[in-house]
């Protein structure tokens, strides 16, 4: 990264946005002098309240860190020492900077801090280990640790990335509060919607350079740089996009050839149906936990059923039962009108190709020794006999997902994240399935790549007459892709309906809360928004 400059003011929030590898995190670390040994930081000017930070030695730096600048990293499960009590971690800054006289005072201050950030039962939580807290509590504790010495600047690096939407909203509220209390907030995020909620000023970074800067209003309403416009446009939403991100030409004659219309018209319109699925797992303590509790649904031909829910809602277990990779303890899945989960594995095998899967992490779903060509060829329908024919089909499939045949001999490790997910999609459509189960297929991808993959999935569905079960924690993504939506919570279905019913007219409290918590790309900027506490 090079040539980045900005200034932070008390009571204001500056956000740095950009995709992975854009240099936004390195920038934030450079400010506290922790960019790493291998990084060379040159700054013409780096001043903090009049002190020139570039001239500081290590000892003086340590006096600034924690005391003047608080730092919040993403994913508190790993950003708090997993072997130490939460209270010890929070108290560390106090102890290091000699802010407390006695251990009683330390304990009191720690509890007060936890209460300040809204952790319930602060005294108990202070004595627990990070993994015993919920995700939201952990993130709050991490913020408490950063706020311990009342620093003037708070840097938050992707503070909400690993959190469920409702918790994300709460943490954003907390950050907003600290801003209102007069801290200067530097927010690093890849998520424009999150940024739009609290930022006053925005810096867009791309490949180590600042491509756009301005007030939040300006950047969100009237983006100047093409990259910013692309980023804004890629945010999943219900509206049709101005531009398409898929490389797939809208109408390809090849696609309409008869070979793809594999569904005989005699099939009932319901492809896959589940009745009262129940699945229990034994926890590490030997207690049975019900992961899925009485879930029923129907998937019609050519339809996308979106499944949303927070972590632990049982949506992945439900997907695995649809694939008959886990078998339900009660209830059954019917596939193409016939028994599916109740079959013996031997009888199911021949029909397995008709239902494919796309995972969140494509890399681990590929045999590391196999080449791209080998992977896709392996999943081709068995009626493709000759080598030449198989080769042509694989090239055709690669073309379909927008990949060059030059990748045929590559190993999965040598591909980018987006390329890997495209290969996974090619593998999924190769056997001409009727249904594809997509389990968080875009969660690990940057927003631009995510938009491309989503467009690709949409196009393929239209051309190949595939039904999707589309699982995601991201409501925006689900809204963009789904025809019908199922909301899950704690193993049960809360609500099912068409996309518009769920998103425009949610009937249950839970869905309403879920929707309210989703950060929206507010094109107004922070100044126009009322300060809301969740």
């Amino acid at each position: 990264m090079r040539g980045v400059s900005f200034s932070l003011q008390a009571g204001r929030c500056l956000a740095i946005v950009g995709g992975s590898g854009s240099g936004k995190s390195v920038t934030s670390r450079a400010i506290v002098g922790l960019a790493g040994r291998r990084a060379h930081v040159h700054a013409r000017q780096l001043t903090f309240a009049g002190t020139d930070l570039t001239t500081l030695n290590d000892r003086s730096w340590r006096r600034v860190r924690g005391k003047e600048i608080g730092f919040v990293l993403q994913d508190a499960l790993v950003a708090l020492d997993p072997l130490r009590q939460v209270g010890k971690e929070i108290g560390e800054a106090l102890r290091l900077h000699g802010a407390v006289a006695s251990s009683e005072e330390l304990e009191r201050r720690v509890v007060a801090l936890l209460e300040l950030v809204g952790v319930p039962e602060a005294e108990i939580k202070a004595r627990q280990l990070p993994h015993q807290l919920s995700g939201g509590q952990r993130q709050r504790a991490l913020i408490a640790a950063a706020l311990a010495l009342d620093p003037r600047i708070l840097i938050a690096d992707e503070p909400t990335t690993a959190l469920d939407v409702t918790v994300q909203a709460q943490v954003l509220g907390l950050l907003e509060e600290t801003k209102v209390r007069g801290k200067a907030l530097l927010l690093i995020s890849h998520d424009l919607a999150v940024v739009s909620r609290i930022a006053d000023e925005v810096l867009v970074m791309h490949e180590g350079k600042v491509v756009e800067r301005g007030s939040a209003d300006q950047v969100f309403q009237d983006p100047q740089h093409p990259y910013t416009r692309q980023l804004l446009d890629a945010v999943p939403s219900a509206r049709p996009r101005a531009s398409r991100h898929s490389f797939l030409p809208a109408a390809r004659p090849k696609l309409q050839s008869r070979s793809w219309e594999q569904l005989p018209s005699t099939f009932p319109s319901v492809v896959l149906s589940a009745a009262k699925l129940v699945k229990r797992f034994k926890g590490p303590d030997g207690v049975l936990r019900t992961a899925v509790d009485g879930v029923s649904f129907e998937l019609r031909s050519g339809e996308t059923l979106g499944v949303v829910g927070e972590s632990g809602s049982g949506k992945s277990t439900m997907a695995r039962m649809a694939l008959a990779l886990d078998l339900p303890d009660e209830g059954a899945v019917l596939f193409q009108g016939r028994a599916w989960t109740t079959l013996a594995e031997r009888d199911r095998r021949a029909r397995r190709r008709a239902i494919s899967v796309i995972y969140q992490d494509p890399l681990s779903s590929f045999d590391p020794r196999w080449s791209v060509g080998h992977i896709i060829s392996d999943s081709l329908a068995s009626d493709v006999e000759s080598k030449g024919e198989r080769y042509d089909r694989v090239v055709q499939l690669l073309d379909l997902v927008g990949l060059s045949p030059a990748l045929l001999d590559r190993r999965p490790l040598e591909l980018s994240g987006g390329q890997r997910q495209r290969v996974a999609i090619a593998r999924a459509i190769a056997p001409r399935p009727a249904v594809i189960v997509c389990d968080e297929p875009v969660s690990a991808l940057d927003v631009l790549i995510q938009a491309q993959v989503l467009d690709l999935l949409t196009d393929l569905k239209a051309h190949l007459n595939i039904s999707y079960i589309f699982i995601s924690h991201d409501l925006g993504v689900v809204r963009q892709l789904s025809d019908r939506v199922m909301v899950m919570r704690q193993g049960c279905v809360v609500e099912t309906g068409t996309r518009d019913e769920i998103f425009l007219n949610p009937r249950t409290d839970y869905t309403q809360r879920l929707l309210a918590a989703v950060p929206r790309l507010e094109r107004g900027g922070a100044a126009n928004r009322s300060f809301s506490r969740v």
Binding site: E92, A93, L129
Partner: protein, 320 residues
Amino acid sequence: MRINSAAHVRVGSFAGRFLSAATVVWLAATFTFLVQCLMPGDRAQIIINIASGNVGEAPPAELAAVNAKYGFDQPLVLQYAKYLWGVLHGDLGLSYQQHRPVIDIIAEQIGPTVILASTALIAAWVIAVLTTVLVAGRDNMWSTLLSGVQVFLATVPPYWLATILLVVFAVQLRIFPVIGGNSLIGLVLPTIALALELSGFLGQVVRSEFTRVLEQPFVMSARARGMGELGVRFRHVLRHAALPGITLSGWAIGKLLSGAILIEAVFARQGLGGVLVAATSSRDVPVVSGAILISAGLFAVTSMLVDLTYRIVDPRIKMT
């Protein structure tokens, strides 16, 4: 109420640990028993040969007498039951050569060996931790050098290293006694010789985990709170890096005992080594078997200790 139930779980856990330790000893006893039965050649004949010092066929009456004395004429199942019963009561059988209980022979000699192994384990930890904390993860020549030295130490036969140490420090420089007996000063060289090899293994494991943990976000958090380099290394990283080392220490007991035997031979130290070498060359199988059984017992005890230590260092592990 909560505390009570936790205490209950803890007791259950210790019972479980004890049971699994007992299983280890039981399986080891079965192994040594089978080995003794399956020994090639007639055992009575071997015992007579050992006693008389010549090879030849003993008269049947003599054989029968020996068979009766050692119980070889009984059915195998009964022999096995008797053997296990004996093991439970600390009776490991009679030495073929010395005609004394094996347990007495081993008990007389095992003290110095266990002391040597224990001091070496401690020394190996000190060496591994100090070098790791000072050097690991720093991007310089020292770090590369350390990893090279650790690979070297883990590969070099400790008995050879011991001989070199003996010649250099005892014979040439006369810093340490050539034959130290059981004195404290005589323990120094053997301990170092034995510890260096283990510190190589231990150091590699601890260092690679240390380097990995140094890159973890919580370390960055600690630094961002204003913690200095040494604080980060000692207070946060070392604790994590010690965990795989602790696990390894349990398994290292076998290695340490093996090494101790060899080191004892080099320094002509008292200990199990002399007994074992004599027993092996005279084919006194019960003594060798007894030593194996004792070391299995030592392993069982150490792995309980290791387990306990691990739980103290890593409070995430619940007593289950």
